[in-house]
């Protein structure tokens, strides 16, 4: 049983985002890199699935258990190795990094690379975050499923797999307090939502163990992927500044009355 996890490193949301002089990219110097928070949830779900198959209470034979592994796949720059180490410390067995040095972060192209790597690995199931918190395309994982002709469900907030590993039942929010219960045949790709689980902390033994876990390297030409871009970023600009608005003084009731008046007469939104 091979469980794949698509993992991306992203700028920590607390990092200062500064636009580079080219007006198309950001200054990466002072960025703190972290595992995309949704991918951390994907990894946690993969680890839980492995534990349910081969944990203390599971029934799989020792031989079967040796074949169960959680593999993280990243399309990233060299420094992504550090975030991959953290994922290995959480409990993943090994990593595969597809080098994207000099290539544009294009979701179509990234999905092509990841799909090629996943095809080579032959995963029985792939977990991914529903979106990344930096570029926020929300396309890559669905694209990988499409290119591998796998079914997918995203964003998943509840995941249950049958013991024979033939299919899973997922719950996803389809908007407006509406939930869809979806039965999906495996292999499949699962896009993970924040409420799915609470990722575990990295333990010290985990960190020590991670040091000896392998991270393999590959690239587009080795994967037989032709480099082409489907889009270009024409410019990057700071968002329109929200001006500091007006503080409404006075006792609570008076302030509330004044606010209602302003919303009606000045802002015209009620």
């Amino acid at each position: 049983m091979k469980i794949g996890v698509l993992l991306k490193e992203v700028a920590d949301t607390e990092s200062l985002i500064e636009i580079a002089p080219d007006g198309k990219s950001i200054i990466a110097d002072r960025i703190q890199w972290v595992i995309n928070p949704y991918d951390e949830i994907a990894l946690e779900e993969a680890l839980r699935l492995r534990e349910s198959l081969c944990g203390p209470t599971a029934t799989a034979s020792p031989e079967a258990c040796r074949a169960v592994e959680v593999v993280i796949v990243t399309a990233g720059l060299v420094h992504a190795q550090e975030t991959m180490r953290r994922a290995l410390a959480m409990g993943a067995d090994r990593g595969l990094r597809i080098d994207v040095e000099g290539l544009l972060p294009d979701p179509f192209f990234t999905a092509t690379l990841l799909a090629a790597a996943c095809r080579r690995e032959g995963f029985d199931i792939v977990f991914a975050g529903k979106i990344s918190t930096d570029a926020g395309w929300g396309q890559v994982h669905i694209g990988v499923a499409e290119m591998l002709s796998l079914p997918h469900v995203s964003p998943v907030e509840k995941f249950e797999c049958d013991p024979a590993f033939k299919e899973a039942v997922c719950t996803r929010a389809a908007g407006a307090g509406v939930k869809e219960m979806i039965r999906v045949r495996l292999p499949a790709l699962i896009g993970c939502e924040k409420s799915l689980n609470q990722p575990r902390y990295v333990s010290l033994p985990g960190i020590l163990k991670a040091k000896s876990k392998p991270i393999a390297e590959t690239n587009a030409s080795e994967l037989g992927v032709e480099v082409k871009s489907a889009m270009s970023i024409e410019r990057l600009a700071p968002p329109p500044e929200r001006r500091r608005g007006r503080m409404i003084a006075g006792r609570p009731r008076d302030a509330a009355r004044e606010l209602v008046r302003l919303l009606r007469e000045e802002a015209k939104v009620i």
């Binding site: 949301t13 985002i17 950001i26 928070p37 294009d106 179509f108 999905a111 918190t133 930096d134 570029a135 926020g136 395309w137 929300g138 396309q139 669905i142 694209g143 499409e146 290119m147 079914p151 907030e157 996803r172 929010a173 389809a174 908007g175 407006a176 307090g177 509406v178 939930k179 869809e180 219960m181 979806i182 999906v184 924040k194 871009s229 489907a230 889009m231 270009s232 970023i233 024409e234 990057l236 600009a237 968002p239 929200r242 500091r244 608005g245 007006r246 503080m247 409404i248 609570p252 009731r253 302030a255 509330a256 009355r257 606010l259 209602v260 302003l262 919303l263 802002a267 939104v269 009620i270």
Partner: protein, 321 residues
């Protein structure tokens, strides 16, 4: 220019965000261009008329029934068929879970690029530029797609709806295939009547300052008086006071209502990133130094337990007049 819009409907009525997109498409193609709408399931006469009023010249109806009409995967093939027949320059849809499934699947199948979760579309000379927030709203990227047709999903409430058009679209049926491997078995409404945050025109949200689940009653009351949807910060969701469906922010929903009222929310980067594109923002916070006050249109430094009930009272009073 030709634009194909993936339109969503519920109970036979066109979704507001779809009407918005069709209206925007109509303004982009004019003059001489054409707008088509792609709908799933039997498109009744009433829906066809609604699509015409929104600005559609043609309707492609995918012949899907039951839950297949909710499945982006089942509809990718018929959408590709509609693209082949209509040959659009752009394919637009809403950034809903359904829209994401369908547009991403179809664009990848056609091998073309897609800009997701856009908040603006503009035409500069020959180029169509899609604006989208990145890095949690810390920057706005203008994206140009190099392949055709250009696919894009758009955040609800990004455009206003133009006056009704006087069109009656011709309907053309496209066939559907099975959603190979995925079956939506059951659809459940966990909170009947809840308006989706992403589509909401007004939102009243509460954070850790609300202290417990019961106190959300006060927020719900104010929301009801305003015709608003209830939102929450991650702190309130993590405490278990309200479900994750209500969370606004980077790991919750991105919203762009006309009015956002934040009660007992400090204004963290991650919360603000989800509500940045709101038009008018109000904050009520007992701490006059709360960071949120630097990014609001109106602020009240005060105890929400006093301010919120008073607000409700005056709004009801105003409505009665």
């Amino acid at each position: 220019m030709m634009i194909l819009v993936v339109a969503e409907s519920e109970g036979g009525a066109l979704k507001r965000h779809s009407a918005e997109l069709i209206g925007k498409a109509a303004s982009l193609v004019a003059p001489g261009g054409e707008v088509a709408a792609f709908v799933a399931g039997a498109s009744g006469d009433a829906l066809t008329r609604e699509l015409g009023r929104a600005g559609a010249d043609t309707v492609f109806a995918a012949n899907a029934s039951g839950n297949d009409a909710r499945s982006g995967q089942a509809l990718a093939q018929p959408l590709c068929a509609a693209v082949a027949r209509f040959a659009p320059d752009c394919v637009l849809g809403s950034s809903t879970p359904f829209g994401a499934d369908l547009l991403v699947r179809a664009s990848m199948r056609l091998g073309v690029g897609m800009a997701s979760d856009c908040t603006g579309i503009s035409v500069e000379g020959e180029k169509v530029l899609f604006e989208r927030p990145v890095y949690g709203g810390a920057a706005i990227a203008a994206v140009r797609l190099l392949s055709s047709p250009a696919f894009a999903s758009v955040r609800p409430n990004s455009f206003s709806i133009p006056p009704a058009f006087d069109k009656l679209p011709a309907v053309s049926v496209v066939e559907t295939v099975d959603a190979q491997g995925v079956r939506i078995e059951r659809v459940e409404e966990s909170e009947p009547g809840m308006v989706d945050l992403a589509e909401a025109d007004r939102i009243v949200a509460a954070g850790r300052g609300i202290r417990n689940a019961e106190n959300f009653g006060m927020i719900r009351d104010l929301a009801r008086a305003l015709g608003a949807t209830v939102g929450a910060s991650r702190a309130a969701v993590d405490e278990g006071w309200i479900s994750h469906d209500h969370q606004v922010g980077q790991s919750g929903r991105a919203v762009s209502p006309a009015l956002y009222i934040a009660c007992g929310i400090s204004g963290s980067i991650q919360h603000m990133s989800g509500m940045r594109s709101s038009k008018v923002v109000v904050a009520i916070n007992s701490d006059p130094e709360a960071p949120i006050f630097s990014r609001v249109d109106y602020g009240i430094a005060g105890d929400m337990f006093e301010v919120v009930p008073a607000l409700e009272e005056f709004i009801r009073e105003m409505r009665r007049k």
